[in-house]
Symmetry: C2
């Protein structure tokens, strides 16, 4: 699974992580190539799965979400089916923008957006607390995102 990337590939990936709307012509200029080989490289990166997609990044603030919370959930049961059903249920809740099954004291770590603290409280009470098999919930609020743009480092 480790795909070989040369300097040019890394430059392309960094440019596209910063701005997915760069045209092939602009990309080519940045990496000192002509458009055809540049376009071919990008396509190869897409096909190999290194680039899994392109996404518009929305501002939670501008959409009226003033609160980002991290919610840790401990289950009172750990069977295969219960975990699967629980994950399925989590996927149906749009306020949960990220969600990991994790090791340690808690079983799931969620990132949740809400309009304000009051709205989050209601969400926690009416949605999270009523999920099946939940034993304990711990919420922590983001005062500020220190690193707003998620960038995967390129190895080597």
């Amino acid at each position: 699974m480790p795909i070989k990337l040369d300097r040019t590939d890394k430059a392309l990936l960094n440019a596209l992580q910063a701005n997915a709307r760069l045209t092939v012509a602009e990309l080519a200029e940045r990496v000192a190539l002509t458009t055809s080989p540049c376009w071919r490289r990008v396509r190869t990166l897409e096909e190999s799965g290194v680039i899994s997609g392109y996404q518009a990044i929305l501002s939670p603030k501008a959409l009226g979400y003033g609160v980002t919370a991290f919610v840790s959930i401990m289950m009172d049961s750990h069977t295969q089916e219960i975990a699967r059903a629980f994950e399925q249920r989590l996927l149906e809740i749009p306020e949960i923008v990220a969600c990991h099954n994790v090791s340690g004291r808690y079983d799931f770590l969620l990132e949740v957006v809400a309009r304000d603290l009051e709205s989050f409280g209601e969400f926690a009470r009416e949605v999270l607390q009523t999920l099946p098999c939940v034993k304990e919930i711990y919420s922590s609020f983001s005062y500020k995102s220190v690193r707003p743009l998620r960038v995967i480092p390129l190895p080597g």
Copy 2:
């Protein structure tokens, strides 16, 4: 800061969150508009800050990162300058792909990628443990990302 969005705007945002490379022609078709008004709406969404950018989403796995960890950090001091300097230092560490200053028992929550557990151990020992003013660190590993694609829900 709450920007008014009608049904069409929301459809555009949802389409662009799923695929930022859709052409204006394709977008227009999906929302039953012609290209001109569609293009104008997208531009307005960009200028208003609702769309803060476009990003290629890379696969950590394909890049050789087998481990995603969530690291909670407790500081032994909480002055303004120390926090600022600490955040500045965190920004210089590329393995930290996300980072929040949070409420609760810990002060910072980081998301870190690493090649494998061994590599993470080394990173924790040599980079995280040596940061100034760190009192306690708690690491939790992601077994699996339940929601791989981050999508902000649209209000209303």
